[in-house]
Amino acid sequence: MTSSRQAVLDAPGRDPLAPAAARRVSSRLPSLAVMLSALFVLLLIVATAAPQWLTPHDPLEGDFLAVLQPPGSGHLFGTDRLGRDVFARTVHGARYSLCIGLGSTAISVFFGVLLGVAAGQKSRLLDEGISRVLDVISSFPGVLLAMLVVIFLGQGMANIAIAVGIAGIPKFGRVVRAQTQAVRGADYVTHACIYGRSRLQVFVRHVLPNALVAVPVTATIYVGSTILATSGLSFLGLGPQPPTPEWGVMLAESRDVLRVAWWPGVFPGAAITLTVIAFTVLGHHLQRRFEGRQP
């Protein structure tokens, strides 16, 4: 009783005079960054859907007379050791990263939400069981789990997407589980029967929407992680094989010519970094926008 009174008087555990000014400022600052990120993601979508709008060159065809040309006229990012235009390959590579990234995030979200909501229900047994399953999945480091999947299922895009997807299930599972438990304990849920609502109605109208409020935000930020993971696996040779213009594969190929040519190694990596940054920034922006809506 006393503590609930206290909790009501000011936000729990927060000094009422604490300067929120610093927070407010940083919430204004990234608006330029957010715009740039959104533009970049738009660019990626264009590169995925219609790469020919961005570059006339064929990513797979190499001009043997123009091997390892530095960036300059005709080749924006230069050419690689087989004479292929690096810019064209980078643009065409966007679709692999984006699709694998989104695909594996989708797998993680779907199963994670399912398990998380189930674990957040009343049954302690279900909660413990699912939590242990999530613990087991998360005990395998992502890269190694992917190796396990690849060795059993073979190499290729779909399989590394599955591997990274499985590795991401615990993250969403735990977040959704925690949210579900928090929401189920909140007053507006425990007292909802006063308004004549059945348990199912309460679950569908109140528990689910509020428990899943954090999912789009977490997913957006997580796309960045999946792109990092999948490009890393491609770099190791477990994903798409050369000559596919996937960014990780391109970086693996560039290692041999590093001593003499920097451009095949720098641009694909920069593309990965910028993509991850863009999704992370957008995700954080969404988080701030929806902060007020958290239960």
Partner: protein, 309 residues
């Protein structure tokens, strides 16, 4: 240490044993649930006379599934990971011989990342707009940079251009510097973000005002009080970070041509050497479980509020 504390410690240890067992079971299930003859899977790319018999004998393929499972768990628990048919050596040997360079790398990177994270977070948490914005930007960039690209850039810069550090191999501490830094920086980016946010959240708590009212300056406040609070969320992340370091070590070893467990495993994957991959993955899982349990216990030690439950 009260009875309740012993009970919660025992509970956590029990939980981690369950998880370790679960990982072993998952590996077993994965092995047997796949399409194809298990003997074929284990043989991989090879086929020489006597191979099938050796596999059948070692893995007990003629016995029932349940008996195979029990045998599997028992062998793993005792550290016998079987034989690599590719390399014709016991897996445990192969793993043990290559373990040290990888551990070295992961540990060095981890410690470095932690030091950077603590230093930057303590210096920038709750300070003015500019240092925080700069720190945030730098952290974001590093956390978003793929390890292999960072490695390539550092290679180009320090090994090829400046020629300060060796390009590959594991000879001496100089060969450790670039790989460790490569692995440490993205991890540091993430750790710093988490630590700084935790510190800033802590700095808004009422008890901080009380501590300041005793005359403590910013430095003492942060190191004596705030850091301990901020370390708590970091510890919940700890297991995941260690897993990431192990995975990142694999990638870093490829970039720098460094010998180690990563190289071994990668070759094993490409040549379908199942026993080795299985062993490395399970080993990593056990390390992860052990580290998480340790961190869990440390958490309880630091936060007295958890001791009663």
């Amino acid at each position: 240490m009260s009875a309740a504390l012993w009970r919660s410690v025992a509970g956590r240890l029990g939980g981690s044993v369950v998880v370790a067992w679960g990982s072993t079971t998952a590996a077993f299930v994965a092995l047997h649930a796949l399409p194809g003859n298990i003997a074929d899977i284990l043989a991989g790319d090879l086929d020489y006379p006597g191979l099938r018999e050796a596999i059948a004998a070692e893995w007990g393929l003629d016995r029932s599934l349940a008996a195979q499972y029990v045998d599997f768990v028992r062998r793993i628990a005792l550290g016998d990971f079987g034989t690599s048919y590719e390399l014709r050596r016991p897996v445990a040997d192969v793993v043990a011989s290559q373990l040290w360079p990888t551990l070295q790398l992961a540990a060095a990177a981890g410690v470095l990342a932690l030091l950077i994270a603590v230093g930057v977070a303590v210096l920038t948490a709750g300070r003015g707009r500019l240092p925080r914005a700069v720190a945030s930007l730098v952290e974001l960039v590093f956390a978003s940079t793929p390890v292999f690209w960072l490695g390539i850039l550092l290679l180009m810069g320090f090994s090829f251009t400046l020629q300060w550090l060796p390009v590959s191999g594991a000879a001496g501490w100089q060969a450790l510097v670039l790989p460790a830094v490569t692995l440490a920086l993205p991890t540091a980016g993430l750790l710093t973000q988490v630590l700084r946010e935790a510190m800033e959240k802590t700095l808004e708590q009422p008890f901080v005002v009380t501590v300041r009212a005793r005359g403590l300056g910013e430095w003492r406040l942060r190191t004596r009080h705030v850091l301990r609070h901020a370390a708590l969320p970091l510890m919940t992340l700890g297991g995941w970070i260690i897993g990431g370091l192990l995975g990142g070590a694999v990638i870093t070893e490829k970039v720098f041509g460094r010998p180690g467990l990563g190289t071994v495993t990668l070759n094993a994957v490409l040549s379908h050497d199942v026993p080795i991959v299985l062993a490395v993955v399970l080993l990593a899982a056990f390390v992860h479980v052990a580290a998480s349990t340790l961190l869990d216990l440390l958490y309880v030690l630091i936060d007295p509020r958890l001791r009663a439950s």
